[in-house]
Structure formats: structure tokens, C-alpha cells
């Protein structure tokens, strides 16, 4: 019997979960929604796990609005984000569209924390959270720490979490007024994970031809971790959104991404589709801006 955990523990608090994780090390695995975990288990990747730690009753399920931030508890189910009043403005559409691209059965179970901690570059919510410059808060044996989503992903399926640490919440800084955002993905079918996805956020002034500010571009599926397109952002910052400026930005995108070949898609396909998705997202934002101004 390959996947044989010996204990299923329901943590009553993040501190309790941290104590168990510290004590058990590699023998323990965290259950948020269990979707990624069960997927790995059925593929024989978790045969060493002896203790499961469920976070659903650890007080980590909330969406809160605080001065300057929207804070998401790590155990918040993705479907709950769709209902959150604090995430209803166009600035957060990138996150809601990322969530809505997933099958309803996944949205019912998968959690914000789990989506991040699996650290699969093709997952959808992490790209959106990267474009929103989210901060990940972590609790562990040495206390609490916080780092940007970008710094949290170290490598394919590898996060910055140390022994005994878990993600407790994700904080999204409130974007500047007038921020618009969009999310697009390319997948083989509706049930599969994305081949490539693109999350874009920017603020445009009210008159037509106004320059963009606060441009943030993140892509999944074009490298071992979610990629922030820093050169792409720099190419657009302070410029108005035109066909020409978008094409210049896509040239910069080539330098930002590092796609690889795998059984789902080749590197060259991922590169090409990455550009298409960013182009479409920017065009959609340009059209949205014209409509709303």
C-alpha cells in the first residue's frame, strides 16, 4: 500500500500546525484543499508521508480589508474569493478570472495557501497574485515573516518554507486608483492545468492616450517558477498603450521568460503563446479603459 499516512490531524491553530510540522519534518504534509496533495499521492510521490495536517479549522479562512491591504487567509477556498466584496473592483479582476478559469470542483476545495505552496508554475492564482504584488506571511518556529510572492517560489515545486513553517495569509496591497487588470490562459482543455497563463495589471489616467503606471506583468508556464516580466513592465511604464508600445513590450518579454519543453508543450510554443496572451491582455485593458473613461 504505497500512500499510507498513519495519522490525520486537524490543527486548531497555525501554531499547533507549526509544532506538528516542526516535529515531523518531511514525514508531515499539509492539507489545505487536498487537491494538489491527492494528485501527487495518486502519482506515487508522497509514499514517505506519515502525518497529514488539515488546516480547515485553524482559523485561516477569511477575506479581510485592512487599511491599504486586502488579506486572504491561507485556508480560504478559491470559490470564496469569487464572493468576496473586497475583491470586486476591476483591479482584482485578474485574480477572479484566474480562479474562474478552474473547474468548479477544484474551486470548491483548493485554497489560496495550497495554490501557492504547491509552487507549480502553471497554476493560475499564483500568477495573478504575483501581478498584484502580494506578500506571503509565514509562521514558524522562529516567529512570523513576510516576503513577496516572487521570493516565495524558489524552483519548480519548491518554496522558501523551512521546517515547521506554514503560510498563514496572503496580503494584497491596494492598487492605485484606476487600476485595471486581466488574466488569460491557454490550456488543452478546461480540466487540465494551464500551458501558459498571463496576469496583467496597470493604471491608466482618464484621458485617452494617457501613460500607464504601475504596470505589473506575471506569467506562468514559462519557467520553473512564476515569472514577473520586469523588462516588459519597464518597457510599458510611463508609455501609453498603443499597438507600437505593446509590440515593444513583447520584445522585452522574450528576455524575461525562460520556458522549457515538457510533455504538455514545447518551449517555443510556450514562448509564442506567452506573447500572444500578454498582447491580448494588454489589448483588453486598452479597450476596457476606453470603455470606462
Amino acid at each position: 500500500m504505497p500512500f499510507c499516512p498513519q495519522k490525520y490531524l486537524i490543527a486548531g491553530s497555525p501554531q499547533e500546525a507549526s509544532r506538528i510540522l516542526d516535529a515531523e519534518g518531511e514525514r508531515a504534509a499539509v492539507v489545505g484543499g487536498g487537491t494538489a496533495l491527492r494528485g501527487f499521492a495518486s502519482r506515487g510521490l508522497l509514499n514517505h508521508v506519515e502525518v497529514l495536517v488539515d488546516l480547515q479549522r485553524a482559523g485561516l479562512r477569511y477575506v479581510r480589508e485592512e487599511a491599504g491591504w486586502v488579506t486572504l487567509g491561507a485556508a480560504t477556498r478559491l470559490w470564496e474569493l469569487e464572493q468576496a466584496h473586497s475583491l470586486s473592483s476591476p483591479a482584482y479582476r485578474v485574480l477572479l478570472e484566474a480562479v474562474r478559469s478552474l473547474p468548479v470542483q477544484v474551486r470548491s476545495l483548493a485554497t489560496v495557501g495550497g495554490s501557492l505552496c504547491t509552487a507549480h508554475p502553471s497554476f493560475d492564482p499564483p500568477a495573478a497574485l504575483a501581478a498584484l504584488e502580494a506578500q506571503v506571511e509565514i509562521v514558524g518556529p522562529s516567529g512570523t515573516r513576510s516576503l513577496p510572492v516572487q521570493g516565495f517560489f524558489k524552483d519548480f515545486l519548491v518554496t522558501d518554507l523551512g521546517r515547521g513553517e506554514l503560510v498563514t495569509q496572503v496580503r494584497i496591497p491596494k492598487p492605485p486608483a484606476g487600476t485595471l487588470s486581466a488574466f488569460l490562459r491557454m490550456a488543452r482543455n478546461g480540466a487540465d492545468i494551464s500551458l501558459v497563463n498571463a496576469a496583467v495589471r496597470l493604471a491608466v489616467g482618464s484621458s485617452s492616450g494617457s501613460p500607464c503606471q504601475g504596470v505589473r506583468v506575471a506569467l506562468g508556464g514559462v519557467g520553473p517558477t512564476v515569472v514577473r516580466g520586469l523588462e516588459t513592465e519597464a518597457a510599458l511604464e510611463g508609455r501609453s498603450l498603443t499597438k507600437a508600445s505593446i509590440e515593444t513590450a513583447l520584445g522585452a518579454l522574450d528576455r524575461d521568460i525562460r520556458p522549457w519543453d515538457d510533455f504538455r508543450a514545447s518551449a517555443s510554443y510556450r514562448r509564442e503563446i506567452g506573447k500572444v496572451l500578454v498582447r491580448r491582455a494588454l489589448a483588453a485593458l486598452a479597450a476596457q479603459h476606453v470603455k470606462e473613461s
Binding site: 500500500m1 499516512p5 487537491t35 468548479v104 470548491s108 480540466a191
Partner: protein
């Protein structure tokens, strides 16, 4: 390693409360099939990609193959067996039979659970096809080509009581 010892959990399935001893690795699908003898939810990919294990958990569609049974303490599960009865099918089941949306039947219970949730949530009597397709994106069918399935959902929607 041999399977971990059973732990107790209590959950309601189709309106009936069950207190069961379940091993840590057991999924909700295994609990429903092996402990409760419910074969409506099916085992397909067993990894959350095909949807034929779909049940409602606290009213929401989930892949029961991806839920740990010991994580469902105090929750409500509805399987296709909990909709209608042999003598009186649920309107969604009725619509599937009427238009011929069932071939091998393996995907059918999972799709019916999602359709049921979708129709009850919004109560739209004429949902658009793209919306139905998107809602059913997490359920695969190898037999029908989906046309009859979409027709059945539209038929069931049209029969919703206002």
C-alpha cells in the same frame, strides 16, 4: 508501510448521519463506495481530472477522489442517489433520460451533480450554452460528444419552477 489505524468521523450522506472508522488515506469517494455501498460516484482518474467522482459537499460540487474522508467531519454530502428515487427521478435525471444524454453512463452521475448545483444556484430557465459548457468544464465524457448533455441541461433548466 501498512495503512494507518482508523479514526472516527461523522458526516451526513444523502440526509443520513453516519459515524464511521476511516483510515487516514481514505478519500471521500472510497468512503462512499466501500463503506456506504454507494456506486453513483465513479472512480475514473482518481486524481481530480475527469469529474466522474463528483458529489456535492456542503452543497458545492467537489471531486470526491480528492477529498480526504477524515476532513469531512460534520459536513453534508449529496450523491446522485440522493436526488429523486427509482419511482420519481429528479428533473435533471429525467431530462438526461428523455434526450438520450446517457451512453455508457459512467460520467453521468458526476455531470448530473454539477448540473443540479448550477441550475439551483442561479435558477436561470434559459442558460446560454457557453455558460453551461464552462460549468461542466471539469467533467469529461468519452461517449456522447457532449451535445445531448448540453441539451439535457437546457431542457432541465426550462422546467425549473419559478
Amino acid at each position: 508501510m501498512s495503512p494507518g489505524p482508523g479514526q472516527e468521523t461523522t458526516l451526513r450522506v444523502n440526509g443520513v448521519t453516519h459515524r464511521l472508522q476511516v483510515r487516514p488515506h481514505t478519500t471521500l469517494l472510497q468512503l462512499l463506495q466501500d463503506h456506504l455501498g454507494l456506486n453513483g460516484p465513479k472512480r475514473g482518474c482518481d486524481s481530480g481530472g475527469c469529474g466522474c467522482c463528483t458529489v456535492l459537499l456542503d452543497g458545492r460540487p467537489v471531486y470526491s477522489c480528492m477529498v480526504f474522508a477524515l476532513g469531512t467531519e460534520g459536513q453534508e454530502v449529496t450523491t446522485v442517489e440522493g436526488l429523486g428515487s427509482r419511482d420519481r427521478l429528479d428533473p435533471v435525471q429525467e431530462a438526461f433520460v428523455e434526450v438520450g444524454a446517457i451512453q455508457c453512463g459512467y460520467c453521468t452521475p458526476g455531470i448530473i451533480m454539477v448540473a443540479k448545483w448550477f441550475l439551483e444556484r442561479d435558477r436561470k430557465t434559459a442558460p446560454e450554452e457557453p455558460e453551461i459548457r464552462e460549468t461542466l468544464a471539469g467533467n469529461l465524457c468519452r461517449c456522447t460528444g457532449y451535445a445531448k448533455i448540453l441539451q439535457a441541461v437546457r431542457l432541465a433548466a426550462g422546467r425549473l419552477e419559478p
